[in-house]
């Protein structure tokens, strides 16, 4: 082989190595990794307690005294403490002997005390540590995060996946917001913005010894602390107002029976107008719906008149729900879920600086709600008899 050929081969190898960027970084075998799937953060009197759920990669199971696991379980759990979250997470290495891998962690659960007392301190590690996922989901537990993260959902079940599925169920039900870390930090960093994330819990499955995860409402944050928790119905209102609503069902009662209105998509537009020292917001919510069920005695068809009645009743129900959400979040708890403050900042910075930036600006905001509903499809056949 000539010198030229050797040089070409060398350059080719270099190029391949550059493309893969391999061999120059520390290689850790998968058996020596602690593949973290979920994390829970609780604030204690001594500092932080971090509960970690990790994949059980060791074939014989971990016999470590600090963990709850057995060979047949898909996941194992560890609990570590420290003065800061980063300090606590460092203890994982010393406790388990495994190097933690954060990039597979799908959900971060904050305990109630962490959400109330040390919100930004609890999530700062995940903002700065590049090995974590930018889009890791956030949720709050109204008890402790440890209870949620260490819950057993079954031997072969990855708990984090169950928790993630519970949070993401909102994409179909609009009862739970899906908030990745970057969105949460973006909202919590805003001067007037309100951040929100789902409230998650676990309870015993009535058919087995395992637990099941469920979401009940949304936690609202303002000024770096948990302000309030709104229920399922108000969560739908929040999701409609913030363009997060996916699917949802609303029972609409009429004289002819109860219809189930399935929301297919919802879009809300917010337009500000400034008059003297008050900002008026025109909130227009447009909903596309299906009628998925008509509960009456004789399987009768739905007439055009019925559709109009359904729309009228639905407008009333949804209007009340949106107003209730705004009342609880914005007017009662100063949580600006619609980002009125930010919209005003973009629209008129003088008005914003004069009235809004100091916070507690609910008295400067008025709104009008306009809801438009279009019924897209009403069953397979016999739409209008």
């Amino acid at each position: 082989m000539s010198a030229k050929s050797i040089l070409k081969l060398l350059v080719l190898t270099v190029l391949i190595l550059i493309l893969c960027a391999c061999s120059f970084v520390e290689i850790v075998e998968i058996d020596d990794r602690l593949i973290i799937t979920a994390l829970g953060i609780d604030v204690t009197d001594e500092g932080y307690e971090v509960t970690v759920q990790a994949l059980n990669t060791s074939s014989g199971g971990s016999g470590n005294s600090s963990s709850q696991s057995s060979g047949s379980q898909a996941t194992q759990h560890f609990s570590v403490s420290g003065e800061t979250v980063g300090d606590a997470l460092l203890q994982i290495y010393t406790k388990t002997g495994f190097k933690p891998l954060y990039s597979q962690a799908r959900i971060l659960v904050l305990g109630k005390r962490a959400a109330e007392e040390k919100l930004s301190q609890s999530i700062d590690f995940f903002l700065r540590e590049y090995a974590t996922r930018t889009d890791i989901l956030l949720a709050v537990s109204l008890s402790t995060a440890k209870e949620v993260v260490s819950a057993s959902f079954g031997d072969s079940v990855i708990g984090a996946k169950e928790l993630e599925n519970a949070v993401k169920s909102g994409e179909y039900t609009s009862k739970s917001v899906t908030v990745p870390l970057y969105k949460f930090i973006n909202l919590i960093s805003g001067e007037t913005d309100c951040a929100y994330c789902p409230v998650i819990g676990v309870e015993k499955n009535e058919f087995s010894d395992n637990m099941i995860a469920f979401v009940y409402g949304t936690a609202l944050f303002y000024d770096n602390t948990l302000q309030t928790v709104i229920n399922d119905e108000d969560t739908l209102g929040l999701m409609l107002l913030t363009n997060l609503a996916g699917g949802a069902s609303i029972p609409v009662e009429t004289q002819g029976g109860t219809y189930t209105l399935g929301i297919v998509s919802g879009k809300t537009k917010i337009k500000p107008t400034i008059k003297e020292n008050t900002a008026l917001f025109d909130i227009t919510t447009t909903l596309k719906c299906d009628i998925v069920e008509y509960e009456n005695a004789d399987f009768s068809v739905i007439s055009e008149e019925d559709i109009e009645i359904i729309k009228k009743n639905a407008l009333e129900i949804i209007g009340k729900r949106l107003e209730q959400t705004l009342k609880i979040s914005f007017y009662a708890n100063n949580c600006d879920i619609c980002r009125f403050g930010k919209i005003l900042m973009l629209k008129d910075s003088d008005f914003y600086n004069k009235y809004i930036s100091r916070g507690n600006f609910a008295d400067k905001i008025q709104y009008s709600l306009d809801i438009e509903i279009s019924v897209r499809r009403v069953g397979k056949e016999s739409l209008f008899a």
Binding site: A21, V25, I185, N186, L346, S349
Partner: protein, 370 residues
């Protein structure tokens, strides 16, 4: 590519686009203090305007048929002057290449493989770029088209996959802190754009129209930067401003169907961009000496340039803070103004003066003869 060993102006601007795009991708938030509070579209427009202003003296020294670059123009007034200028530009491009490699090293060791020691990897990257330099400008020009295609496709793909997350409420008011931060940030970006200066050196190796090509290149880059930064601001909002590499953070949330973590797709193409950029700058540094001293650089000389680039890398990499202080200093802005504006103007006027002098002498000779 042309049979005369030159590249076309389209190929040149492909190379320059790749060089600029990789700087955009690996742009670091701490470099400028005010960039995160500035409207991205206006920042891009102001950047284009500054570059157009800087381009005026640059294009005064380039002949319309591209037969003469700045060193050729300086030779007309004095051979010594052209040698000094060629040394200055050689050093400038070695420094620019070193900075480019440092930026890439910080990117890799901070976000891709945190804490990893990759100096050996950088040495290999420089070895690969040295090979590209040996192959010449035509090889670099040809590969730039392929790399640009790969980068373009991956960027469009990732942008489209995240654009649904865009919220205009994440943006900032147009003149939130007045005009000063906007002017400061765009001036900062414009005074770190070595591509404009490289045109003065590489012009004799290029066929085709440089002026119109430069304007198209500038507008295209400005548009790409405006779109990418607006997407980043509108999607990541305040979170993005807290991240070291904003555009990389954007790629982290890109998802398409079952495909997640598309960052690997784009960072792979960024490696190729850095390779090409380093090779191009090293080649330009060698061209400076070739044009100034009239000697074709040997392979050993090219290797020496790569070694100098590696030295600059070792001196400037260290930490993000060190790098940001070096690259963000006003001295760099001043040096850029010197090499992009003052030296071309000096060359232009000295060439004019010496031309007048020569004509006077010729007239005198003719009068004496008559």
């Amino acid at each position: 590519m042309t049979s005369s060993g030159k590249i076309s102006s389209a190929q040149l601007f492909c190379i320059l686009f790749v060089c600029r795009v990789v700087a955009l991708f690996t742009y670091m938030t701490p470099e400028t203090k005010n960039a995160e509070t500035v409207n991205s579209v206006l920042l891009s427009i102001f950047f284009v305007l500054f570059q157009l202003i800087f381009a005026v003296p640059v294009f005064t020294v380039i002949k319309k048929d591209n037969s003469q670059g700045i060193i050729g123009a300086a030779k007309k007034s004095s051979a010594l002057f052209s040698k000094i200028i060629s040394l200055i530009y050689c050093c400038a491009f070695i420094f620019a290449a070193g900075i480019s490699v440092s930026r890439f090293e910080l990117f890799v060791s901070t976000v891709m493989f945190p804490g990893a020691e990759i100096s050996f990897f950088i040495a290999l990257l420089l070895a690969a770029s040295l090979f590209a330099v040996f192959r010449g400008i035509q090889a670099i020009g040809r590969s730039s088209a392929v790399i640009l295609f790969a980068v373009g496709i991956s960027t469009v793909f990732i942008t489209l996959s995240v654009v649904k997350e865009f919220q205009y409420t994440n943006l900032l008011p147009v003149f939130m802190n007045g005009l000063a931060p906007l002017a400061e940030s765009s001036f900062y970006s414009a005074t770190r754009t070595m591509e404009l200066i490289s045109i003065m050196i590489i012009a004799p190796e290029v066929t085709g129209r440089l002026r119109s090509g430069f304007i198209k290149w500038l507008i295209a880059f400005g548009a790409v930067a405006a779109v990418l930064f607006t997407c980043t601001d509108g999607i990541l909002g305040a979170y993005g401003a807290k991240q070291l590499f904003q555009l990389y953070s954007l790629t982290l949330i890109a998802k398409f169907s079952i495909f997640e973590r598309l960052d690997d797709l784009i960072t792979g193409s960024w490696v190729l961009c850095t390779l090409l950029k380093t090779a191009f700058y090293c080649l330009i540094a060698a061209k400076c000496i070739e044009q100034g001293f009239g000697k074709k650089p040997t392979k050993l000389f090219h290797t020496g340039i790569s070694a100098a680039v590696f030295t600059v890398f070792l001196l400037t990499s260290g930490t993000v803070v060190t790098f940001s202080e070096i690259i963000g200093s006003d001295i760099i802005s001043g040096l850029y103004i010197a090499v992009a504006v003052l030296i071309p103007l000096a060359v232009f006027f000295s060439a004019k003066l010496s031309g007048k002098k020569r004509r006077k002498e010729e007239n005198l000779c003719q009068q004496n003869q008559s």
